[in-house]
Each structure stands twice: as C-alpha cells, then as structure tokens.
C-alpha cells in the first residue's frame, strides 16, 4: 500500500513536471471518456434501466399480425381485445388504450390536450394508479356510465393550479362535462406518450362508428402483465390458440384472419432507437480507442527519454513487475484525471445531445449522470489507463539497463520496437478513424438522399394544423361537414392563401387508415380481402399538397353526401388492381361498412414518409361522403414562410367556432424535419464523433511523425551527408506516413464490412458499399494523414547534416 502511494505521488510529480504532455494526454482522454460517458448515460437510461412500472420486465406488448402483410404487427380491434381478455390465462391482466386529442376548456379558453381511453385493467396491468383520488370503477367502464376523468399531473398543475379540490369537480372536454376523480403521478407517461386526460371506455372512439368497431376496426394498443410462472414463449403459443378461437367465433370480422404476437414492452418502446444507441456507443468506443492510441504514442515517446531513469532504477534493484506497476500507475492516474474532465465534458455533451434529440430518444427525461454512469466512468477510466499504458510499460520495463547507462550505446533494438509500435498505433488510429468516417459518410449520403427524395408532392409553403371537433357540438357528420365547408371557405379567401384543403392523415407524417376492400370483378373474401390505405380529403387537398392528377377528375362540389359515392386512387393502386384496364368508372367496396365507391380519378403516388421506399396503394374519398371529426387543415400560401399565416388561419377557425382549438401547427417543412429527426440525430452525432476522431487521429499522426522525425534526425543527417537532397527527405517522410495511412485505410475498409451491415437499417437509398463514400472518405483520410506528416517532413528537410552528425 505504501509503495502504491509512492507510485501515485511519483506519477503525479511526473505529470506536473511535463505539463504539456499531461495537457495533451488528458484532453485526448477526456474527449474519449466524456463521449463514452455521455452516450453510456443515454444507453443506461433508455436500454438498461428498468421501465418505471412495477415489475416492468413482465409487461408485454401485444399486437395483431397481418398475414397479408407478411405477418407485420398492427393494433387490436375491440372485439379481439375483449375476447382475449376473457379467454387468456397467461397474463395477470390485459389492458387496452387508444389515444386522441381532447378539446378541453381551460381557464384561458379551449385547448387541445393529449388524452387516452384506457380499459379497466390499465392500472392493475401497469401497477401504477392515480397519485390523488381513485382509479376508474368497473361501472364507470360501461356504456352509458357517468363520464369521469383522471387528470394528468402537468395539466392539473398548469391549468388548475394543482388544486386538490379539483377532485369531484367537473371539467369540459369535447363539449362534455367530465367529473374529475383523480390525478396521475407527476411525470407518468403512457409508454412515453404524454397524456393530460385519462378517460375510461376504450370501446368508444371518435373516428370509428360503433358498427365499425364491432366489425373489427383496428384502433387499440394492448399490453399485458405476464404471469410470474409463464414464459413469453408459452404466452405466444397460447395467443396462437386464442387467435384460432377468435377466427372461429368472429369469422365475419375484418381482423378475423389476423394472428397475435407479443414482445417485451421495453423492446416496443426502445426497439427503434436501440440499434442507433448501440451504434453510437460503438462509435464513441472507437473514439476512446483512438485517444488511447494517441496517449500510448505519447507515452512511447517518453519511454525513450526515460530510458536512463529506468535503467538507474533497475540497477538499484527494481524488478520488472515493479517497473510495470509504476508505469501503469502513472497511466491510470492520467486516465482517471482524464475521466474527471471527461465527466464534465459528458455533462455538457449530454445537454447538447438531449437538446438535439430529446424527441427521438425515448425516456429522455430519465437520462442523467447517476451512480451507474459514475461507476462506468471510473471503470472505463481505469481500463483506458491499462489499455494505453500496458505496451509502453512493458517496453519500458524491458529496457536493457546496461546498454542504457552507456553513453552513445549501439543498442537499437528498443528503438526498433518503439518505432514499430508507433507505426502500429498510427495504423490503428487511421483504421479506427476510417471506420467512423465511413459510417458518418454513409449516413450523410443517406440523409441527403432523404432530404432530396421525390415525395410525389410539393411541401414547400404549406401550413398544417390539427382540428378535433368535439362530439357535443359536432355530433353528426352533417355538423362536421358544415364546419369544414365554412372554415375552408374562409381560409381560402385570406390574402396570401392560394389554396386550402383537409385530410384525415397528412402525407409524409402518417400513413392512411388501413382498410379492407375488394375491387370490382373480384370476390368479396371478407377478412381475406386486400388492404389499402384510406385518406378522407377535401377537394382541394391535392392542389394544396401539389399532388398532380394523372387521369380522370379531382373531387368537386357535386361530390356531396347525397351524391354518388366517389373515390380517387393513386397510381400504385391503379397499377396493382386494374393492370390493363382503365380504372375510371370501376367500383371499390370497403369490407368494413360495405360502402361502394366509383373511381373518378387517379393521382400521382405521394409518400407516407420520406423514408418510405415504395408508395402504398392509397384511396381517397371526399369528406362530405365520409365525414370524421378529426382532420388536418393544410394551407398553401404565397409567402415563403407558411407559419406567418398561422395566426390569421387560427382566427378564421375561431371565427367559425370560437371554442374550437387547433393543435400541431407546423409547416410541411417542419413535418419533414420531424420525420427526419432520428436519422438527423444519428447522423449529427456520428459526424461529431467522426470529426473528434479525425482531429485525434490527425494529432496522433502528427505526433508520431514529429517524434519519428526527431528520433531520426541523425538518420536524415547521414542521408543528406551521403547525397540525399531536401526533396528526397521530404518524400521519404511523406511516403512513410502515406504507407502507414494506406495500410490503415485498407484495414479500416475491411473492418467497415460488418459496420456497414449494421448501418443498413439506418440507411435509405444508398448501398452500404457506396463507392463514392468509400473512395472520398479514404482519400480524405489519406490527405489529412499527409498534411499531418507535412510539417514534420518539412522539419526533416531542415536538418543540417553537420549538426545531425555532431548530435552523435
């Protein structure tokens, strides 16, 4: 213990004696450890820590699987949920929910707040109930029961001042009076979704009719708490049996042919981001390795200068392992100081990362530098110290004391070993940096492709906002249609507005509702009918969004509720179902409510999201013929900034109904930006790490080459004495650097093969072997390596042979 303390004190003195060495090494380590700490704190909170629910590992998400779409998961219908709830024996509780916005009258007027219908078992399944008041009683979860609600904590605080007397009082939501019976705990989210208003009765929703719900309309999310003695595989097997029973019992329902699947709630919540986070953790590990290589190079350079000191220690009786321990103690001391600075950088970096990506990182609110992160930082610091310190320590301890104590000793074997190790470190740095640069390069290319992808519509200059009409004032389709007619009329007449339209679901934001249908000439196969996407739109939606007509006509004022039912389809739909026929005049029937429409037009394919590779088959019907209370208003203006219209458009909404709130006011550019937030987040972080890696590698290559030139001063002097000219020496040093860079690039290219496979899920529209990226990045890195060698090379050319030979 005493000798360890001595080693520590000696190590600290050595660092203080060489402040520039310590500064460079600690900076490199702090960058590496800081980046690792920041990303690990996200991984820890998002992927490793338990979800904030009681015994959360047993919470499973359930879904229907659609055999017509390759078994892809989809939501639940109410009949299936109810059937499952009654039949299943694998779960302690099975609960369902569906979310929607409610128009709530607050003290400052109407506002749209996010809300959820939850089934009676919800609190039992999550293991969490209201912080104040009580949960829903079974009788409140029945049709026709007295309307009650539980407030979200934040809504309770912001709109009702956290007044506990609110319990038992009424609030108005969607024009209906609801009795407040409780308040949920602060920060409680519905699986990462912020909910301000909780209501029972999942069998009621404002976008499906009771008939559609009973015939298998899918709109619910379902989860369950697995029994402690049941495994997930057993539960899945039981779900398969229940599916078959459901198919027999509800053969006429549109979802009868579907299967059922289950998976952990954690996977459901963080599945999308987990690969991104693991990739980022891998990226920062590379940054740390590069930092390690840098510091190892610096230590190696010091080995040369400390040879005599070590030789003296050995001659005084220090053993091999004693010397190794002394050097490792210094390395670990260095890395722990780097770790402390890195922790500070991580704190700042985390703020930056969360500022960039709080929307794309689930559980972002839980991310913090907690004790696990501190333990991780300490461990990684010690490990780092060992990783970069072990080779120099062994090399140093192998010093031949006899030779080192002789002046002008001939022994060069230590120098050759150091030289080779230096070269290996440069190669490693180049290879690691190349891997990161290629990763970043591929993602940049992919991101640029996404930004410039042809979406099939023109999003520039379009303003969007959401309208949810309350059932109390707009209970019938006719009332809703009148509101939409009046609003569109007013908005269109605004100065600066060129067109305005509506849709149930916005292109590039969300897919249309999935419906079963059968085209004219094909047999109705019930649940086996093909699926398509349906959007309910206003006549001018296509003009406003810049979706051109290909064939037939657009909707017009004659397409009323009383008129013949009409439909516009997109090109993909026309191609798939009316291959060699003219689709105009053909009839299409929805399975769910047996409505038949005539195709009157074909529009160009428009994408559901920018990452969509192939447009889906889409159907459009005019809102007067199928009116729903939830619509997105889209407004095209002549101004470059469509948001400048938002105030005036909002006033027009209030002019039609002063109690009608609007929500989600965004430009289409923002909608696209939101869609791209995850790739942007990933790309930005990888660029940052790649740039840090490049800087570290440049400094590392410069350091090694610079040291190499210093160490080879005499060699250059000899070569110049025997006829080498300055350009020969310049070429020699650059060639040496270039050879190392080329070897590093080749190894890096090989090492990127698994990485590129890993990145495939993050890339869109480019190949993982995109030659432009691979060649550009390789050339960039070799150029940077050459530039890093240039200054030392120039210094080598200035060696005076006479001085160099005197140096002996």
């Amino acid at each position: 213990m005493n000798s360890l303390w001595q080693d520590l004190r000696f190590g600290a003195r050595m660092l203080l004696k060489h402040p520039s060495f310590a500064l460079v090494a600690i900076t490199a380590l702090a960058l590496g450890i800081g980046a690792n700490t920041a990303i690990f704190s996200i991984v820890n909170a998002v992927l490793l820590r338990q979800l904030p629910y009681k015994d959360s590992a047993r919470l499973m998400m359930l879904w229907e699987t659609d055999p017509k779409r390759g078994g892809s998961p989809t939501g639940f219908s109410y009949p299936r949920f109810n059937f499952l709830r009654n039949q299943q024996q694998s779960f302690d509780a099975v609960a369902a929910y569906t979310t929607r916005n409610f128009s709530v009258m607050g003290p400052e007027g109407p506002m749209l707040v996010p809300g959820a219908h939850i089934s009676g078992d919800f609190f039992q399944a999550t293991g969490i109930g209201p912080a104040y008041g009580r949960p829903f009683a079974p009788e409140e979860d029945q049709p026709g029961a007295a309307p009650v609600a539980i407030l979200g904590y934040e809504l309770w605080q912001s709109q009702f001042g956290g007044n506990q007397n609110m319990i038992g009082q009424s609030i108005t939501a969607d024009g209906q009076s609801l009795t407040v019976i409780g308040v949920m705990p602060a920060g409680f989210k519905l699986f990462e979704e912020k909910i301000d208003l909780w209501v029972p009765r999942v069998f009621e929703t404002n976008f499906l009719t009771p008939q559609q719900i009973q015939r298998g309309g899918i709109y619910l999310a379902v989860f369950g708490r697995l029994k402690s003695d049941v495994t997930l595989d057993q539960a899945r097997a039981a779900l398969t049996v229940t599916s078959e029973q459901y198919q027999q019992a509800f053969s006429g329902n549109s979802d009868a042919a579907n299967g059922m699947g289950a998976g952990s709630l954690r996977e459901y919540l963080v599945g999308d981001i987990s690969s991104t986070l693991w990739i980022l953790l891998g990226a920062v590990a590379f940054v740390l390795l590069i930092a390690c290589a840098n510091v190892a190079s610096l230590l190696l350079a010091r080995v040369a200068t400390r040879q005599r000191e070590i030789a003296v220690r050995m001659s005084l009786g220090a053993t091999f392992w004693r010397l190794v321990r002394q050097t490792l103690t210094e390395s670990i001391l260095l890395s722990v100081v780097g770790g402390v600075v890195g922790l500070l950088l991580a704190f700042l970096g985390l703020k930056l990362v969360l500022g960039m990506g709080s929307e794309v990182i689930p559980r972002a609110g839980e991310i913090q530098l907690d004790r696990w992160v501190l333990i991780f930082t300490l461990l990684i610091s010690v490990l780092t110290g060992v990783v970069f310190g072990v080779a120099p320590a062994l090399l140093q301890a192998k010093t031949n004391s006899n030779e080192s104590l002789k002046e002008g000793a001939r022994g060069e074997s230590g120098g050759v070993r150091r030289h080779r190790l230096h070269q290996a470190l440069v190669i490693a740095e180049v290879a690691l940096t190349l891997v990161l640069l290629i990763g970043a390069g591929l993602l940049i290319r992919s991101f640029l492709r996404l930004r410039n992808v042809d979406t099939g519509l023109n999003p520039r200059g379009v303003l969007t906002m959401q309208l949810v009409l309350p059932a109390s004032r707009y209970g019938t389709p006719a009332q809703q249609a009148i509101f939409y007619d009046q609003l569109l009329e007013k908005v269109k007449s605004l100065p600066g507005v060129t067109s305005a339209g509506m849709t149930t679901r916005l292109h590039l934001d969300e897919p249309g509702s999935t419906i079963l249908f059968f085209p004219e000439g094909q047999v109705d196969q019930g649940a086996q009918n093909p699926q398509g996407r349906l959007r309910i739109v206003s006549p001018q939606y296509f003009d406003t969004m810049g979706i051109p007509l290909v064939q037939g006509r657009m909707f017009n004022e004659r397409d009323t509720a009383a008129g013949p039912r009409v439909m516009i389809i997109n090109e993909s739909m026309a191609r798939r179902y009316f291959q060699n026929q003219n689709p105009l005049g053909k009839r299409i029937t929805y399975t769910l409510d047996r409505l038949t429409c005539e195709v009157v037009g074909v529009v160009r394919d428009a994408k559901t999201s920018v990452v969509q590779t192939q447009a889906s088959e889409e159907m459009y019907v005019p809102y007067p013929q199928r009116t729903v209370p939830r619509m997105m208003l889209v407004v095209r203006g002549s101004s470059a900034d469509p948001l400048s219209l938002s105030g005036e458009v909002r006033r027009q909404v209030q002019a039609v109904d002063k109690e009608q709130p609007v929500a989600k006011i965004r430009s289409m550019d923002q909608v696209i930006a939101d869609t791209l937030s995850q790739p942007r987040f990933m790309t930005t972080l990888l660029i940052i790490f790649a740039v840090v890696a490049l800087i570290l590698a440049t400094v590392g290559i410069y350091g090694v080459m610079s040291y190499s030139v210093t160490e080879r001063t005499k060699e250059f002097g000899i070569l110049m004495a025997v006829g080498a000219q300055q350009r020969d020496v310049l070429k020699m040093v650059l060639k040496q650097g270039l050879i190392l860079a080329v070897i590093g690039v080749v190894i890096g290219l090989i090492a990127t093969i698994p990485l590129r496979k890993l990145l495939l899920s993050q890339m869109h529209g480019i190949s993982a072997t995109d030659p432009l990226t691979l060649v550009t990045v390789s050339l960039l890195l070799m150029t940077v390596a050459l530039l890093a060698c240039y200054i030392p090379a120039l210094r080598a050319t200035r060696v005076d042979p006479l001085d160099a030979l005197r140096y002996e």
């Binding site: 002008g408 001939r410 022994g411 060069e412 074997s413 120098g415 050759v416 030289h419 005499k714 060699e715 000899i718 070569l719 110049m720 004495a721 025997v722 006829g723 080498a724 000219q725 300055q726 350009r727 020969d728 042979p801 006479l802 030979l805 002996e808």
Partner: protein
Amino acid sequence: MENVTTLTAPSAPEVVSTQPLVCIRNLSKIFYSDELETRAVSDLDLNIERGEYVAIAGPSGSGKSTLLSIIGLLDTPTEGEYLLAGELVTDLSRSERARLRGQHIGFIFQAFNLIGSLTVQANVERPMTFRKMPADERRRRAAEALERVGMSHRAKHYPSQLSGGQQQRVAVARAVAGSPSLLLADEPTGNLDSANGEKVMDLLRQLHQGGATVCMVTHDPRYARHADRTVHMLDGRLA
C-alpha cells in the same frame, strides 16, 4: 575473421584532367558566437590530386574536421575558394551541394553512421537511390562493394547485429559503392580497437591502390603513415 578480397579502385570516372581534384585557395572558416569569433580554418591552401591518398593530421581542435566538412560540402567556407573537380563549389545552394555530394563524394565517419532500421545491403544501396540509379544497378554495385570489404555474407543483417569493425567495413562499402571521385574519412578508426583499426586502414590502402582518391582526417600519427602525403594542421592552418 572474414576474408577481405584484394580491392580494386572504385570505378571512378576516367576524367583526364591536369587540375587537382580538390583545389582550395585562401580558405577560412570563422564561427561566430555571442562575443567570440573563432577561426577554425584560416587562410588555407590545399590541393589534392586525383588518385592521391592524403592524411590530414593534427591535434584536437586544429580544424581538420572542419576542413574535411568543407571539402565534403557539408559546410561552406566563410572566405576563400574551393574548386571540386574544377568546379567552383564555394557558393552553391544546399541542394546543389547535396547533389554533388551524392555524385562525387563518399564519406566514412568515425561513428560509422549506419542506419539502424536498414539492413546492411539497404544501407549500402541507399545513397545510390538519391542518384536515381536503377534498382538492379544499385543492387549489383552494393553487392560488389560488400564483396570488396568482405561483408557480403552479412548483407541481410542489421547494423546492431555487427561488431564495430564490421560496421565500419559496411560504412566503407557504402562510401565506395557509388564510385565517388573522392573518399573522405573522418577519424575512421576512432571508435575501433587497434586490430580493427588496422583492418580499416588496410581497406583504405587497397582502395587507394585501386585508384581511389582518399582524404583522411586522423589525430593518430600511426594511421597517418598509411597515406601518401600527410598535411599537419595546427590552429586552423597547415603546419
């Protein structure tokens, strides 16, 4: 003990000239420090004829190594003229001097100055690469030179694997492989024991007998006797 074959002259260019190979007139070299002016070489005249073996002898600090550096174009004189093979080289640029060194001069240093990271063969070849000599030619000449100094069996070894005497013989091979007009040796025996020192002296003698022009600096009169002519220096002047 390696066999040393009889040395023939390095194939020096057969230039028929009446001019001395080295012609130095009124040459001075002055070193300036803060307040001190040191005349290492002062008003010196010296000719070295082609094929001549000249020893420059003198005590330490007499200026002999400075003179050799100027003759070897590693340094420039402060005053005076220096003609190498009839060409005035006093005011040449660094790179011109380097080029001439590569073409005309072979060096043998006291500390051998081999490059530790290169094999013996590569050490001997390296100066010829700067003359853009084809690789085959370089290899052939290096092999011949190593053969001449009896070191061909060590061609693939590294300098650290050789004794001091062997290293100096490799240094001699490096110096002669490019067929220089002038072979300069700066205390070539200074780091060797007397037996190895004698061997190196024998080598130089044989090279001279083969036609080489040799200029050797030594402070040891025993070795100076190997030369045809010995010039003595004292305080920067010929004594």
